[in-house]
């Protein structure tokens, strides 16, 4: 196996590993907001799988698409997760701001 194929396999399995961790996290975590962290992290698995395809196929129809899919996921995921988390808090508390009963202290930078 060439170094290029090795690199593709390593990237692929790290990417798949991240996806497995994220899926497990969604199943294991009980709190909806905790689950959002795993849903967001899955985009990095997708990016690594896309890079693995790019390494194997080089810049081509399939390689470009794989990379574009990964980049779009990583760039868009933080926005999606931020909005999801904010919406979940608004649905639960009526506003996203911390509630008095949550005892959130303002930390100093």
């Amino acid at each position: 196996m060439s170094a290029r194929e090795w690199a593709a396999y390593v990237l692929l399995w790290i990417g798949v590993g991240i996806q497995v961790v994220c899926t497990l996290g969604l199943l294991v975590m009980r709190d909806a907001l905790d689950r959002v962290h795993y849903a967001g992290a899955a985009s990095f698995g997708l990016l690594l799988i896309g890079i693995a395809i790019l390494v194997r196929e080089s810049f081509s129809l399939i390689g470009d698409k794989a990379l574009a899919a990964g980049l779009v996921a990583v760039i868009g995921s933080p926005v999606l997760m931020h909005v999801t988390m904010r919406s979940a808090r608004v649905a639960e508390h009526g506003e996203w701001q911390p509630q008095p009963e949550e005892h959130v202290q303002v930390e100093q930078p």
């Binding site: 961790v21 129809l61 930078p109």
Partner: protein, 166 residues
């Protein structure tokens, strides 16, 4: 007239960028793909211009802010390990609800000018890149940034404002 020209210029620029992206994706000059691309790109450019022309929120960024984008990216590998560790802790019964949750820190919310809009948008976007922490919001009335962490850890400034824009 200048407004119409401006709209036409932005629409054309968006059309060209989207068109180039389409060609990159399809990697062919077949007529059917070009025609499909032209329709899709026209819809995309028109939608983009409708949003931009409405001026829902004007945003501007300083280049030095964008150059700090690598900071949250550097936190990603460590945070992925944190996420994996939390699964192990949950499965072995060592994870408690209080291990994660909301954190808040002073953050100058600013006003409604394009630079302040851009600063808040950048913090909410890139501050939510690393998977252990997501920015829930910036409270402009109380000058607070609120972040949710799966595992409460790290220096508040580094976690809640990795771009140092407070």
């Amino acid at each position: 007239v200048s407004s119409a020209l401006r709209i036409a210029a932005f629409w054309s620029a968006t059309w060209l960028v989207l068109g180039a992206f389409w060609l990159l994706l399809v990697d062919t000059l077949e007529l059917a793909e070009l025609l499909t691309g032209a329709v899709v790109v026209t819809i995309g450019a028109t939608g983009s211009e409708l949003v931009r022309a409405n001026r829902v929120a004007r945003v501007r960024f300083r280049m030095r802010w964008l150059l700090r984008a690598y900071r949250p990216a550097l936190m990603v590998p460590r945070d992925l390990l944190v996420l994996a560790a939390e699964i192990v802790r949950a499965l072995t019964g060592r994870r408690h609800p209080a291990d994660g949750g909301l954190r808040a820190m002073r953050f100058d919310g600013g006003g409604n000018d394009p630079l302040d809009n851009g600063r808040r948008a950048l913090v909410e976007w890139l501050g939510s890149l690393s998977p252990n922490a997501f920015v829930v919001g910036i409270d402009v009335e109380r000058d607070l940034i609120v972040v949710h962490q799966l595992r409460r850890r790290g220096d508040p400034a580094q976690v809640m404002d990795p771009l140092d824009l407070r």
